[in-house]
Symmetry: C2
Subunit: 225 residues, 2 copies
């Protein structure tokens, strides 16, 4: 079961993934999305990111119209996602980067490729482990720690290493970061400035953030908030 990370099982999973992608293309299940384009999702279907990144967020409902959407999850290539229907929570999937390609599979179809069902559920288990770390981050410390902690989690999962830095390969706007830690855009702008000044992050054009690898340490700053 939990041997998914041996070289052989990774090779087998990859082979199944390619097979599923081919199948999805042949059956016209792949859709291409532009940056920030909403992805219409049906309840009960499992969606897969073929390439790109999908942002799962929740829209404020009713009286909370002035509140930012929460950024709940960023789902990368070869990962599944699904929108849980819950009373009073409106979840939304959106293409986070251009040329994000997504396909869907019916519940009953997942079991047709032997081993694929386990692959999918293992991927959800992995996402569950990551979310435990996010909950830990969100219930701990000050906004600046939560912001830096969030950037480190995203960096660990998506970051590309180059020149002793971990580059987050897509932009994250100040509003999106505020929605990820339950803060406001104005606060995030200020905190990013503070983090930049003390060298904890480097911000390039277009809201692209890099983390120095030597600084890839516990987020426990002593900035004045």
């Amino acid at each position: 079961m939990y041997s998914v990370y041996t070289p052989q099982s990774i090779e087998e999973s990859l082979s199944r993934w390619r097979q599923i992608c081919r199948w999805a293309r042949q059956h016209d299940r792949c859709y291409l999305y532009q940056k920030d384009e909403p992805i219409t999702c049906e309840s009960g279907l499992i969606y897969f990111v073929r390439r790109g990144v999908v942002r799962l967020s929740s829209q404020p409902m009713g009286i909370e119209d002035d509140i930012l959407p929460s950024l709940l999850s960023l789902v990368g290539a070869a990962q599944p996602f699904e929108l849980v229907r819950e009373l009073h929570v409106s979840l939304q999937a959106t293409a986070h980067v251009k040329n994000t390609e997504v396909f869907w599979i019916k519940a009953s179809e997942v079991a047709t490729v032997p081993g694929f069902e386990i692959d999918v559920l293992q991927a959800f288990r992995y996402q569950h482990q990551r979310h435990i770390l996010r909950l830990n981050n969100l219930t701990r410390g000050r906004a600046v720690d939560q912001l830096l902690g969030y950037l480190h989690l995203v960096g660990e999962e998506f970051g590309e290493e180059d020149n002793r830095e971990l580059h987050i390969p897509f932009p994250l706007t100040h509003s999106q970061l505020a929605g990820a830690i339950g803060s406001t855009r104005v606060t995030v702008t200020r905190l990013l400035g503070d983090l930049r000044k003390v060298g904890e992050i480097r911000v390039q054009g277009g809201n692209r953030i890099s983390l120095p690898i030597a600084k890839n340490l516990p987020p426990s700053l002593h900035l004045v908030e």
Copy 2:
């Protein structure tokens, strides 16, 4: 795959669960814990709550010694849990109620009962869905909304209905609730008082909380914080 909720598949899952519990007892894998007793967990093993409730929390590390442990998850009967090892995060499992019984299974053993591997992964998928809702709650609104939202999530999962109320069947201390929403004990004490006054919750002796079922509505209060 996702047919786990049909009556037949539920019956099959239950039968597998009983079989695994018997097996665990025969192999001396069951341990009984008293309330608030730590559960020593090994990395790479999967743990199962046979009865009772397990609290997953993270201990503050290093300079954060004065901060409350985060309450990351409450895991009920027949649910699995595992402690992800992460640099800089110290996760801890603790028996939340008396006579909590837990057994462990090696990764390689999970596949020995046909269908059980899928059951376990489906359970993690379910927990992942619940955590999406918790992330939504934690990144939205004020502390009072987060507190009430958290109580509703716990009530939905563990609550026992009686006399038009949903009773959370175990105590939650003010410190634990503070750790669940990243607040302080003093604030939680005040907010619980506010929620009690407006009839959103009822607090019985020993930190036992009930939610009126008619009030089982979106947590969108207008209390002055």
